[in-house]
Each structure stands twice: as C-alpha cells, then as structure tokens.
C-alpha cells in the first residue's frame, strides 16, 4: 500500500503557527511523494534489469513494498508526533491563558455539554474538580443553582450558551449562583459562538463574571447618597418648620417667607443631585403608568404656589395626551422646566406652558420672555454641571444638574428634549414623548 496524503493538518483557526506547520507538512509530503516515486521507479527498474529469476523478482518486489511501507510509517510517525506536540503546546498555552483570566470561561459543545472550564469557574463555583463541570449545561446550572437576581429560575431557552449555539448573540444577563459553601454570588453571563467551516455553530464560549465587587460599590454609593440626603434634609426640615412656626405668629417678619422659599429651593437642589446621581447609576426603576401629560402639567402649574413678583403662568392643553410614564419623574421634569422659565425671566412677564399632540407624539413646551441663552453657550446647555448663565449678569444660581437630568429622564421614556432660544427675547424648552398606543392601556 502506498500512503498518498500527508497527515491531516490541524484545524487552521486554532493554530497560531499555522503557516509554518502547513508549509513544512506540504514540503515533507512532497518530499515523501517524490522519494516514494523514485524508490518505486528505480527499484522496479533495477529489479527488472539485474534479476532474471522470476521467483527472486517476486520476492524482491515484496521486499520493496515492505521497505516502502516501513519508511512511510516512520515518516508519518515523525509528522504526526510533531503536529501533536505543537497542538499540545498550543493547547497548554491556551489553557494557561484561560486559567489566568479572572472571568470564568465555559466551552460548550453543539450538543449542549460542557467540554472544558477554566480555573476561574472552579473558584467561582467552589466545585474544585474540573471533571465535575463536564456535564450537560442544564445539569451544570442546576448544580450551581443558577437563577435570576430576584431568585426566579432562568429558563433553559434563556441560557446564553444555548442561545449562542442557536446562532444568536445573547447580551450579558445578570444572575446569581450558589457556591459550594452555600454563599450566593452575583454574576453576569454572556456567550459567543464559534462556527465550523460550513457556518454551523460548533461551540459556545460562555464568560461568567463575578459582579459582587461592582454590586458592593454601587450599594455603597447608594448608601452614601441616602445618608447625604438624610443629613441635608433633616436640618432643612428644622429650619423650615421653625420659620413656619414663626410665620404663624401675629406679625411675622417678612424675611421668614424668604427663608421658607429658599429652604424649598435648597431641598429641590438636594433632590436634583440625588436624581442625577441615581440616574447615572442606571439602577433607577421607573414606575410606569399610563397618564395624561396635559393633566400632569396642569397640576404642576396649579401647584406652583406663590411666586416672587407674581409671574403670570398660562396653561394651554387639552386632555387625552396619553403617555406611558413615571409620574413622579415626569412631574419633576415639568417642574424644573417651569422653574427655569420663572427664574430666567422678568417677574411680570408671562410664562406659557403648553401640551399638544402632534403625529404620534405629545409635546410639552414652556415659553418665557426672559434673558435667553447666549448662542455660543447653547451647545452646552444639556451638559452636566454646565450653567449657561454663570458669570453673566443674569446668573440666577443653581447647580446645573437640572436640564441634564431632565433630558436623561425624557430619554429613558423614549422621548427627546430640545430648546429654542434668542438672547433678549426668551427661550422655549420642549420635550416630546411617544403617545401611548392602545396596547399601553392593557
């Protein structure tokens, strides 16, 4: 028998020394074929020419074949062991790399069985023996008690690995696992697909990241914010209540009303900082409900209370501007916009609040006849902590967190916010929210 092909080259993608190995394999194979052909041709010729006894000829030919097979075997052995050695070394390097990762990595085959895990997986789960991880992914998730953050089970069709094996690109999802010592570990899980040459999903690689530190930090931040709110609001409560108490007397000092108003303003600022930070944390749950934006805006205008200088505020809007929104937060946006309009316009000039429906959107606007925003500062109005009027005669104070937060709240409602402004004439701030469809009624 004459072997005709070199040993199968290792899979291309997984071989960093690909070109070199492939080249040398071809070279050896070519050498092998040429020398084989030369051996067969030359030895045949030699036998024909120098041996006349047919019986000896036949024996020599058998010997010739045996020598050929033996040499082929030696060459094949050398080739295969070289490839194996390289593959093994590459595999070791890959393993060492995976083991040095802080994130857990699971390699899952097309049949849903785990083929390999790195060291981080054993450390995250507490299941020390790698062999114990090499089971079907469903069984593994049961062993580590994989569940959602709220404790509910993760349905198999949600598994990142199984989705990846279906060719989807699952985004990271947050989950919990239970370690062998009984403690719970928050993790985020994502997976990617490795395809074969025909484009079929061959493997899924899942990455399991320990998010306990990130979670702890965000909780610490939450804690800090709550403490700050408490620390600031309690003295504000005392000041305000004392001022109100004094106001109840027969002839109250006029300045007391100012104290109450400024305390209210400080309270709003504290609230704004909290809101801004909380939205940054991206962990604010919006409490969705179906509400009429016209009615919500009307309530804000009605509740404005006594205003310095008695700004006339008009409201125009018909009911039926139904949107899906968080009532508290949208109310805060409207309050902040109206408050800005009042602060940046002369005391006797009217402020006009409107709510209307245009196409599939409902649009809120508040127009003032105030100082307007200088054109060169208009680009930065929505920047966090940017104050368009700082350092100009019309600086009315504020922290610059209002508009930035407003826009973020509106964006999280699927809406947008913009403005038109002309210095000396006034500004109009607007936001649009998508109208709630019939399905939102359900």
């Amino acid at each position: 028998m004459v072997p005709s092909a070199p040993p199968e080259a290792p899979p291309r993608r997984e071989q960093p020394t690909d070109g070199r190995l492939r080249g040398s394999s071809l070279y050896i194979a070519a050498l092998f074929v040429v020398s084989g052909l030369a051996w067969v041709g030359l030895s045949g010729l030699a036998i024909d020419r120098y041996v006349t006894d047919p019986a000896l000829q036949s024996r020599l030919r058998t010997f010739e074949d045996v020598v050929y097979v033996a040499i082929s075997g030696v060459i094949l052995y050398v080739l295969i062991s070289r490839s194996e050695e390289r593959l093994r070394r590459f595999g070791d390097e890959l393993h060492a790399t995976l083991d040095s990762l802080g994130d857990g990595v699971l390699v899952v085959g097309a049949d849903g069985r785990i083929l390999d895990v790195n060291r981080a997986v054993t450390e995250l789960t507490g299941i020390q023996r790698r062999q114990e991880h090499l089971v079907a992914i469903q069984e593994w998730t049961q062993r580590v008690n994989l569940r959602q953050r709220d404790g509910s089970p993760v349905a198999p069709e949600q598994f990142a690995t199984l989705r990846a094996l279906r060719g989807e690109r699952p985004g990271a999802y947050e989950a919990m696992i239970r370690r062998t010592d009984g403690s719970d570990l928050p993790v985020s899980i994502t997976a990617a697909t490795i395809y074969d040459r025909a484009g079929r999903p061959r493997l899924a690689v899942a990455v399991v990241r320990d998010t306990s530190e990130a979670l702890r930090l965000s909780q610490t931040r939450e804690e800090l914010l709550a403490t700050a709110a408490h620390e600031l609001k309690t003295p504000l409560s005392v000041i305000k209540a004392h001022a109100q108490l004094l106001l109840r007397r027969a002839e109250p000092e006029p300045g007391l009303q100012v104290i109450v108003r400024q305390v209210d303003r400080l309270t709003r600022l504290v609230q704004q900082i909290l809101d801004a930070s909380r939205l940054r944390l991206d962990n604010v749950e919006l409490r969705w409900e179906r509400l009429d934006l016209a009615e919500t805006a009307a309530v804000v205008v009605t509740d404005l209370g006594p205003r310095p200088g008695g700004h006339p505020v008009t409201f125009e809007g018909r009911g039926g501007a139904w949107v899906r929104a968080d009532r508290d937060r949208i109310t805060r946006v409207i309050t902040a916009l109206v408050d800005n309009a009042l602060r940046f316009s002369p005391a006797d000039s009217p402020v006009e609040v409107r709510v209307g429906v245009r196409g599939r959107e409902t649009i809120f606007s508040v127009l003032d006849h105030g100082v307007g925003i200088p054109p060169e500062r208009q680009d930065r109005v929505f920047e966090r902590f940017y104050r368009a009027h700082s350092g100009v005669p019309d600086d009315r104070g504020g922290l610059g967190v209002g508009l930035d937060t407003c826009r973020e709240i509106v964006a999280r409602h699927g809406g947008r916010m913009w403005f038109q402004s002309e210095p000396g004439t006034g500004s109009t701030f607007l936001f649009a929210l998508p109208l709630a469809g019939e399905e939102a009624r359900a």
Partner: protein
Amino acid sequence: MSGPAFGVLVVEDDVDLASLMALVLGDAGYRVRTAPEGGAALQRVAEEMPGLILLDMRMPGMNGWEFARQFRARHGRAAPIVVVTAAENARARAAEVDAEGWLAKPFEIEEVLRIVSEHAAAGQPSAPAEP
C-alpha cells in the same frame, strides 16, 4: 378636633427636630414624648402606649427598621407608625416596615398636624371629638 390626651411618640435623633415637633404638637394639645433612638422608644412604649408613633428611620443605636420590627413583634398594631424620612421614596420606606403612613422630609408643619389629627380622630372613636 383631636382629643387633648392623644399621645404621640416622636422617635428622632435630631434634637432640634424632635423638640420642634414636641413644640408644635404640644401647642396643638397633644401629649408628646420623644426618644432619640429605637431602644429608648421601646422603653417609652412599654411605659405607656402612645396613640401614634412618628418614626425616623436612620438613627444611631437602634434604627427605625429594627424598632418597627421589634415593636410589631411585641405589640402588634397597638399603635400606628408613621415613617418620617428623607429618603427619595418615602412611600417605599413606609412599605418596608409596614407602616400606616409616611411623611417626607422636609415637611410642612400643617402636614404633620393633619396626619396626627387624622390618626387621633381614628384612634379615639369613643371619645367625643368636640366636648
């Protein structure tokens, strides 16, 4: 109006705020006692059950959550609890300790008086409101 003998326990660590509430509620004719933290409040409650507890949540010593838990365990719903909090979502705080009401800081004096008078009216159905 509420009966003058209606007792209110103010659990609040801020001395100024506690004395202010005592002043306001005392002026309105309520019998007010204060406690700077949960442990002291449990003692006051054991001495005499108030008609209403105004409860701050964050306090040194025993906090509002722990006080509410122990109070419910020992006395059930012997007195309604109104949570007084600076938290962003006062309603959620109240729900956490299964309180009967909530008051967000900073509050209006009128609001404190309204809440207390509501509970006083509800808590003393047998006593004539207006003698």
